[in-house]
Symmetry: C2
């Protein structure tokens, strides 16, 4: 059931109230001299003095710093280049991201490029393999992507019209400071987008070709069930610390491979959904809620048992015996999935988000089909025609 794997989640987490006040102490422990504070100009720092307090903290430990703000969603390569230059010029030895996935990914790319003589874009094109980076730290203010301990960074090269990903264990941040209080002022839609993203990160791993059920599957079911339980409660009570804490930690474990080891992962929903972001700038979480139900409906009959189990364990669907009972439960689980997204006020179709129908062929042109079968996906392989069908189902 567990295929061979390697894993090392070597991020040092400080979690809880006032976590961000431990930065100076922790960086002193690492011998850091000068920090690049990287952020998005406070986009996610509602009602806090986070930046000011951080600077005081660093001052009190005698750690120097330079600031680089301006990170945009779908973080830009141009700013990464600027950061690399700054780091090299000012002899910076630590990159600290304050923000969510975009800022963290931008910080990772800067830290990677800072120790490389060539063009950092080489790593994204697969022309070079990451071997080392400056250490990266994170003060997480928007949980969703899991980038605070994942080995992934996604950067947008607008000049080349390419948004590419690099994945390597050296990209896991060294330090992550997680204070759920800092997320209590996140608005509803961003919060919901994060929850959908986490849900999808677990599903992309849970829906694997393996028939047997093992410990990783059951842990995944526990995470999904908690999102279904707490997600809607949090949206009605956005300042609730306990709910924020649960969601924040789930964002981390959903994407650092705690529940991704030893299996063939899927990622069909992400790859199909990503093209909606590329063409229409649809927020990532919304692309997932739009595609996921249709993806499930398109593939579940090839692995009905796993989908029926998902329905039972995550949504408490009752299941009749026999093949028809399995299919019926699986269908019910898919309905429940979409009901869950709706309860978060997230779209489940193109029309819900006023996305036009006429871009499908263009999106299909950009999906990175690969392998001998020119397909994507894990639990079921999907070619161009399959993906077209899924887009159409999601209209």
């Amino acid at each position: 059931m567990l295929q061979d794997f390697t894993i090392c989640i070597n991020t040092d987490f400080v979690f809880g109230r006032d976590a961000q006040r431990k930065v100076g102490e922790k960086l002193t422990g690492l011998g850091v001299k000068k920090v690049l504070i990287h952020h998005d100009n406070g986009k996610f720092l509602y009602d806090t003095n986070l930046l000011e307090d951080l600077q005081k903290d660093l001052d009190s430990f005698g750690i120097a710093y330079t600031e680089l703000g301006g990170v945009l969603p779908n973080p830009r390569l141009t700013l990464v280049y600027q950061g690399i230059e700054l780091v090299k010029r000012e002899e910076i030895d630590f990159v600290l991201a304050i923000g969510g996935g975009s800022v963290i990914d931008s910080a990772k790319a800067i830290a990677l490029g800072a120790l490389y003589d060539g063009d950092v874009w080489d790593f994204f094109l697969g022309k070079a393999e990451p071997k080392k980076t400056l250490p990266v730290g994170v003060i997480l203010t928007c949980p969703a992507t899991g980038s605070e301990s994942s080995m992934v960074a996604v950067i947008n090269n607008t000049q080349a019209g390419m948004k590419l990903l690099v994945s390597n264990p050296v990209l896991r941040p060294a330090l992550t400071f997680m204070n759920p209080e800092l997320t209590c002022s996140l608005p509803k839609f961003l919060t919901a987008c994060g929850i959908v993203d986490m849900f999808s990160h677990v599903c992309e791993r849970y829906f694997c070709p393996e028939d047997e059920i093992g410990v990783i599957d059951r842990m995944s079911e526990g995470i999904l069930k908690t999102l279904v339980d707490i997600g809607p409660k949090l949206l009605k009570d956005l300042g609730n610390y306990d709910y924020r804490a649960e969601i924040m930690w789930i964002g981390t474990i959903a994407h650092n491979n705690t529940v991704g080891i030893g299996r063939v992962q899927d990622w069909g929903t992400h790859e199909i959904g990503n093209e909606l972001s590329a063409l229409y700038d649809t927020p990532h979480g919304a692309t997932l809620s739009i595609i996921m139900g249709s993806w499930m409906r398109y593939v579940f009959e090839k692995k009905p048992e796993r989908f029926a189990r998902y329905a039972e364990k995550v949504f408490g669907v009752e299941r009749r015996e026999g093949k028809e009972g399995t299919l019926e439960a699986a269908r019910k689980g898919i309905e429940e999935t979409e009901k869950f997204f709706r309860s978060l006020d997230m779209p489940i179709s193109f029309s819900d988000f006023r996305i036009p129908e006429d871009g499908i062929e263009e999106m299909l042109d950009h999906i990175p089909f690969r392998g001998e079968d020119d397909s994507i996906g894990g639990i079921v392989r999907l070619n161009r025609e399959d993906c077209r069908n899924i887009y159409v189902m999601a209209l």
Copy 2:
């Protein structure tokens, strides 16, 4: 629900068939020059050429090594001293344990003492705090204690008549090689002891004072359920790779705090059971299966809701509504726990293991009661009288 916590599980895991053949390559990556190979003279190396193959592998990478065998269960401080001297004399820069918990703990103590000028026992007495150790690696051959990525080491000072524990993040091994094939020849009783130990490691964390149920609780239930599902199957099919793999990974996550963060843990069963090992040399897993049911019966009425939920989620016990239904389900869950241990041929009472009744007061004398209430435990605090009652219930 999630209390403040810090965690960093910085162990690099290589898991799967042939994992142990990656040692030379990985150590070369770390720049290791000379290894202390620490073991128990092949006690757990049935039918393999593990040691010989390892030496060939190290030779091929030009890494020198020295051997120190002879580790006993409840690893001895005397051997630790010998190891420290050897490491210092031969300028060893890496300690590699081949074995289970005893060998790993002995290796950790050697690696800790090697970089300390005083007596390594100081750390166990709390007179010194661990700051650094030589890097430790593990080829795991007997999964149970989770020491392959935990921050704990337990050493037996037979001269002083003390078995003490040191716990610190610097004690997490740097590298762990886990090949389930190497555990396929473990005999039935040792396998069962390991399963009970893992089950208890999760229970000690799951049975916490918190009333709300969050993601860590649900992940814990998934681990426990998998042990209940796979444990008995493995005992009937000891060479089954898939079952061995599941059990091996569960041993790791059960004790590295993946499901221990953000909560007050209990550890009552361990502390009460440990005295059976001290006085009668009862194997650790057996002390836990003997004590756990009685511990549960003694404490469950103070937190019936959590015990009823455990019964439902781990053993599928049906639960009637109302307070009586909760208590009834909780009682049923305790019965099922003992049935599960019995299905593994493990003892659930003193008499099952022919342990006499007359040592109870002596054992009580050694339980490390502490705090203002002179007690142990987390979900319910237990004083001397409580522990006496639990021993008597377990006769």
